[in-house]
């Protein structure tokens, strides 16, 4: 017997989504759309509002271990991507994964697995790019940086930067998703928190000097005879440039100003 089709309402968080999965399986219901209470929408399908239940969410989360390493990675990370209707794709992926078990990691030609895998690849690739392209500025002993990613990369960047700067206090702000990673020395000295407004004081002399040195280095290291702007843009698309010190024109502000804001 086919499952009843419904429209699912949840709070937009990952535990909320996992609670939806739990409830849908319990009630034998197939969600055809997901939305949050803020979304203005009307649907022809019966609405089911799912309250977030941490215990149910944990049960679903633990069950991902059945998918094998690759399947588990996809199940966890898809929610961070910017894939349109990611909840729906993830739901389809989970249905398939509960069906196939660890084999899901090998089923690369399936359209759903393919879609999810490419979205996660995009997320991981963007996170890797930001490992290099993030720039920090030192302000009163605190390192501050800003990024503008398409996917939610902060959870993926967190282990990298916390391991790299164990003795530093730093803030990394994600403009797109209005959240920031905070870190201070000590075990578990980090948090990813929502941030409403993010602004910093002006940069001091030492900071300006380092920026100037870096720009000088950047301009010097290129070989004129090999000038190849297309190659540069392939490796470093222009959407990253706005936040990078080497392309920064105004020297007084704490962080690079983004054009068009």
């Amino acid at each position: 017997m086919s499952w009843t089709q419904i429209s699912c309402q949840y709070d937009g968080s990952y535990p909320g989504f996992l609670s939806c999965v739990f409830d849908c399986y319990v009630n034998r219901e197939e969600p055809v759309e997901f939305h949050t209470p803020e979304d203005m929408c009307c649907s022809l399908y019966p609405l089911r509002a799912v309250a977030t239940d941490q215990e149910h969410a944990m049960r679903v989360y633990r069950s991902f271990a059945k998918f094998g390493a690759e399947g588990e990675r996809l199940a966890v990370r898809t929610f961070l991507t910017c894939l349109p209707d990611k909840e729906l794709w993830l739901w389809r992926f989970l249905r398939l994964a509960y069906d196939q078990g660890p084999g899901i990691g090998r089923n690369l030609t399936d359209p759903t697995v393919d879609k999810v895998r490419k979205a996660v690849w995009h997320l991981e690739h963007e996170a890797h790019m930001y490992k290099g392209f993030t720039r920090f500025s030192e302000l009163d002993g605190v390192l501050a940086g800003e990024i503008e990613p398409k996917n939610r990369v902060l959870p993926l960047l967190r282990p990298h930067f916390c391991s790299r700067y164990p003795q530093e206090r730093f803030v990394l702000h994600d403009r797109t998703h209005h959240e920031a990673l905070f870190h201070q020395p000590g075990p578990h000295g980090w948090a990813i928190l929502p941030v409403e407004d993010f602004s910093l004081g002006p940069a001091d002399r030492t900071e300006l000097q380092y920026r100037e040195l870096w720009r000088a280095f950047y301009d010097t290291i290129a070989i004129e005879g090999r000038y190849n702007p297309r190659c540069r843009m392939t490796h470093m698309p222009k959407r990253y440039w706005a936040m990078m010190t080497e392309f920064q024109k105004d020297w007084e502000t704490a962080l690079p100003e983004v054009r068009g804001r």
Partner: protein, 421 residues
């Protein structure tokens, strides 16, 4: 002299070094230190020439006692000279590293006074970085040929990767253009480093805290296009270096006219052989990841790589009897030989075909470049539908595929040397 001026001079002098990788070593940060390294490396920026900037690439000094014709820092060249003090360079590295500008330091040097003195200067810089500043980021250091083996060993214990530049692809070119350097003087430290790495690995297997000697391996670099060696010669040499010294990478650097020496191509008319460099790197990848041998890629009848097509396509066209490869049955080695199939897509094929038979649509989903691969594979015994190509038509198709990417007319490669040699 201001730090800014020094940085300008010494980065300018270092920019012809091709290697700027930060790969080969996974080391997470520890409390009380600063810095980590990742196995795949990390590019922090790309300069206007499209090359990756990963490390702060500078010379300790550009004051040099040698007079190598191809080098911008040769004694007879009239350029401003400068030197970093070890403290200055550490300050700069730490400042850049904390702001996430760089992945670490690439420290090279011209030979000031003698190789031993130069190496001692570099060791002092690295010692301050590692021991006083507790720097755990990536350090790539150049070993100076002719330095005392004990000093090179000390350098390798502080750095992650060591490299010795082989400079030119043959000893005759070397004696012509770099009369102060000898082939043996370059290969001796290379051998020493390779033995040191092997011994260190063995010690680490027994004692966890044994000192790590150049844990990210060693690399080298040679200049292409300044001397008349053929691509075949260069690839054979490369393969010998990989086999004998277990190098991680061999870098090629297209010769940039930095000198008006009569022994070198004329600066005014000379175009750096960038396409040739690109093809050499492609062939280098075939050696390192695709289980090819240099003899397979080029032979006596064909001493140079075809500029119109990548080396793997060329090999495939010369060995049509090997194809078509059946993707549902062929082993990994055979899949790697197919143009348009890389290491990743070959691995994915192996994984995906355990679930069910693959068809062409499935291959596309896996990321196979079908526009090249379609001529060389079958799926369950069938070629791609609607594909009818004769043998010489195949060459035209493959050349046409790459033509838009090759800017301008196809460059003549070795004709430049007819007058020079």
């Amino acid at each position: 002299m201001e730090l800014l001026d020094k940085l300008n001079i010494l980065a300018d002098a270092a920019k012809y070094d091709a290697a700027c990788t930060s790969s080969g070593l996974d080391r997470s940060g520890r409390p009380g230190t600063i810095g980590s390294t990742t196995l795949a490396g990390c590019c922090h920026s790309f300069s206007a020439d499209g090359r990756c900037i990963s490390l702060l690439k500078v010379l300790q000094t550009n004051v040099c006692v040698y007079d190598c014709q191809y080098c911008v820092n040769r004694r007879s060249n009239d350029v401003p000279r400068a030197a970093f003090t070890p403290e200055e360079l550490c300050e700069l590295t730490m400042g850049f590293y904390r702001r996430n500008y760089i992945e670490g330091l690439f420290l090279s040097s011209a030979v000031i006074r003698n190789p031993d003195y130069t190496t001692e200067l570099m060791i002092r810089t690295l010692r301050i970085l590692r021991e006083e500043r507790r720097f755990g980021g990536y350090i790539h250091a150049k070993a100076i040929p002719g330095a005392d083996p004990l000093l090179t060993r000390r350098l390798g214990l502080l750095a992650d990767r060591l490299s010795v530049n082989i400079e030119l692809p043959s000893s005759s070119s070397l004696s012509l253009l770099a009369p102060d350097k000898k082939k043996e003087a370059i290969l001796t430290p290379m051998g020493q480093i390779s033995q040191g790495i092997a011994a260190s690995k063995q010690e680490l297997a027994v004692y966890r805290h044994a000192p790590r000697f150049a844990p990210a391996g060693q690399s080298t670099q040679m200049i292409v296009g300044a001397t008349p060696e053929s691509d075949r010669h260069i690839l054979t040499l490369t393969q010998a270096l990989y086999d004998r010294y277990q190098l991680k990478r061999v870098f090629y650097s297209a010769y940039m006219p930095v000198s008006s020496s009569p022994l070198l191509p004329v600066a005014e008319t000379f175009k750096p052989p960038l396409l040739r460099e690109h093809r050499l790197y492609q062939a280098d990848w075939l050696l390192r990841y695709y289980h090819f041998r240099a003899e397979e890629i080029l032979d006596e009848s064909q001493p140079d790589l075809d500029p119109r097509m990548d080396p793997k396509c060329c090999w495939a066209l010369r060995h049509l009897e090997f194809f078509p490869v059946e993707v549902n049955k062929a082993d990994y080695e055979a899949l790697l030989r197919v143009p348009g199939l890389g290491v990743r897509s070959a691995r994915r094929i192996l994984r995906a075909r355990r679930v069910g038979p693959l068809n062409f649509e499935g291959l596309k989903r896996l990321g196979v470049v079908l526009k090249r691969a379609q001529y060389f594979v079958t799926c369950s015994g069938r070629m791609m539908t609607g594909l009818h190509v004769s043998e010489d038509g195949l060459l035209r198709h493959l050349v046409a595929l790459e033509a838009p990417a090759l800017a301008g007319p196809v460059p003549e490669q070795l004709s430049l040397f007819d007058s020079a040699v």
